[in-house]
């Protein structure tokens, strides 16, 4: 009997894992199971060009359905896995069907953190994670409407940018004293604060949400200082909760994500995990981390596929991220937490600059706006743990290339 790999979760990681198995020459049966109806699709455009209506649903599909048949990958969508029986090596589906596996991959992703307030389930309160979320949101995303966004992270800011483009009246509420506080330094936060205000977003910082008021629909968002923000619709972007319940029920080690090693291996030798749902050992960072990012999901999926095929490929990539807001292309590499110095190269006023984050002289992260070239060079610098003269970094007459070599 041929071997069977079951992949639970048909997002970016699950899809890439299935493909990578075939690329490694895996000849067994591959079953890729997703609870959403659509075939695996790219989520990043959901808060950008899909929300704005500039990208069609089919264009988000990582590949057309027929391509899975061609690779002999059994794609099962619209069905949930409800339990894992590790002893019997089976998974149970929502329709009570059971599938035996030799190797199991958990690529279960995450779900938006819910706003813990009464009224958060009303029909004009929205989250941004799935096609269904955006389809529901788009119906209400009309010019002139009053949109209140709760959360000043990437999701909130990208939604604000599309809201302005579509001529909504946008107010953005952030509980912390600055935007993007979790992911970047104060310089970038300040820059994006200015950008959004310039485009007409009403930003309220340090503003906790006290209540959602209204009848059948939320009519206003009440802040802790008593301010009432009238709202036709509300978008909540306050973080992601990893989907770890299946792993927990199966007795796998879970700690803010499914715990995996450098090779995407869980505490069960026959189970790997990849993507947003994992708390993983990152070989570059030299520590455990849970990342919410497509590049990480893709890389870790390839690592997990290699492990299933008996190859040892460490997960050691430098994390990187991107975000599109207005006409600004933000690209980030490395994790800037713990930096002791920031060097800005270029001009924030001209919307073209790079921020280099140094720790003990080493470049640990780089954020670039509209500077893809600096991003690519920054990626090399971070990967090489380069020590660079800060004065030269800030000096545009010194070619960055000469510093990255």
């Amino acid at each position: 009997m041929s071997t069977v790999t079951v992949i639970v979760g048909a997002g970016q990681a699950g899809c890439d894992l299935a493909t990578a198995l075939r690329q490694h020459g895996y000849a067994g049966r591959i079953v890729l199971i997703g609870e959403e109806d659509a075939p695996p699709y790219r989520r990043p455009p959901l808060s950008k060009t899909y929300l704005s209506g500039d990208t069609a649903e089919e264009a988000l599909y990582i590949r057309p359905r027929a391509a899975y048949d061609k690779q002999d990958i059994e794609l099962r969508t619209g069905v949930r896995v409800t339990a894992i029986d590790r002893a019997a090596h089976t998974v149970t589906l929502g329709n009570d069907e059971s599938i035996r596996y030799d190797k199991l991959a958990l690529t279960t992703g995450g779900r938006p953190r819910r706003l813990p307030l009464a009224g958060a389930d009303k029909p004009n309160v929205h989250y941004v994670r799935t096609l269904a979320d955006i389809n529901r949101l788009r119906e209400q995303f009309r010019p002139g409407r009053r949109l209140v966004i709760i959360g000043g992270g990437y999701i909130g800011l990208e939604a604000a940018s599309v809201g302005i483009k579509k001529e909504l009246q946008v107010t953005l509420v952030e509980a912390l004293p600055r935007l993007l506080a979790r992911v970047t330094g104060p310089e970038l936060s300040g820059y994006y604060d200015g950008v959004h205000r310039r485009h007409g977003v009403d930003i309220r910082l340090g503003a906790g949400v006290e209540a959602l008021e209204g009848g059948e629909r939320v009519e206003s968002v009440v802040l802790q200082d008593g301010t009432r923000l009238p709202a036709d619709l509300v978008i909540v972007g306050i973080g992601l909760v990893p989907n770890t319940e299946l792993a927990e029920q199966a007795g796998l080690e879970v700690d803010n994500g499914i715990v995996v090693d450098l090779y995407a291996q869980t505490s069960d030798p026959d189970i790997v995990a990849a993507g947003d749902c994992t708390n993983h050992d990152n070989g570059f960072l030299g520590r455990r981390v849970r990342l919410e990012s497509v590049p990480n999901a893709s890389e870790q999926a390839r690592v997990a596929a290699a492990s299933i095929c008996g190859k040892r490929v460490p997960h050691a990539g430098v994390p990187w991220f991107w975000s599109d807001q207005y006409d600004l292309k933000l690209q980030m590499v490395g994790l800037s937490q713990g930096h002791d110095r920031v060097v800005i190269r270029g001009s924030m006023e001209a919307d073209s600059f790079a921020a280099f984050y140094l720790k003990d002289g080493v470049v640990i992260a780089v954020d670039t706006v509209n500077r893809p070239q600096d991003f690519m060079l920054g990626k090399k610098m971070v990967a090489a743990r380069l020590v660079v003269d800060p004065a030269a970094l800030a000096d545009e007459s010194v070619a960055l290339k000469s510093l990255a070599a």
């Binding site: 493909t19 075939r22 690329q23 790219r42 990043p44 455009p45 990582i62 590949r63 057309p64 391509a67 061609k70 690779q71 497509v294 590049p295 893709s298 890389e299 990539g317 990187w320 991107w322 599109d324 292309k329 690209q331 500077r371 893809p372 070239q373 991003f375 690519m376 060079l377 990626k379 090399k380 290339k401």
Partner: protein
Amino acid sequence: MQLTFIDRSEQRYVVVADRGMSVMQAAVENLVPGILGDCGGACACATCHVHVDPEWMDLAGPPSEIEAQLLDGVLDLRPTSRLACQIVVNDSLDGLVVHLPESQI
């Protein structure tokens, strides 16, 4: 449309692509190893770097400004370097030949 990818060991991968698809998509859908396309074709990551065969360079055309800036940071940059996600397959590219670099990252 037929596309051919040739890796460093001269192994050839011949794939059939639809009009309007990018060369990166065609590679990924057909399991051509060595083309990652991590950003999904957003021209943000440069993990789908290819060297266009010199004979096809005129038809494939030069990179856009943003693409050229990303290419500036890739390994093994050549005058024929392009990002496969930015080459859209059309009738004139039927038969296109591209070469794969040693590594994308």
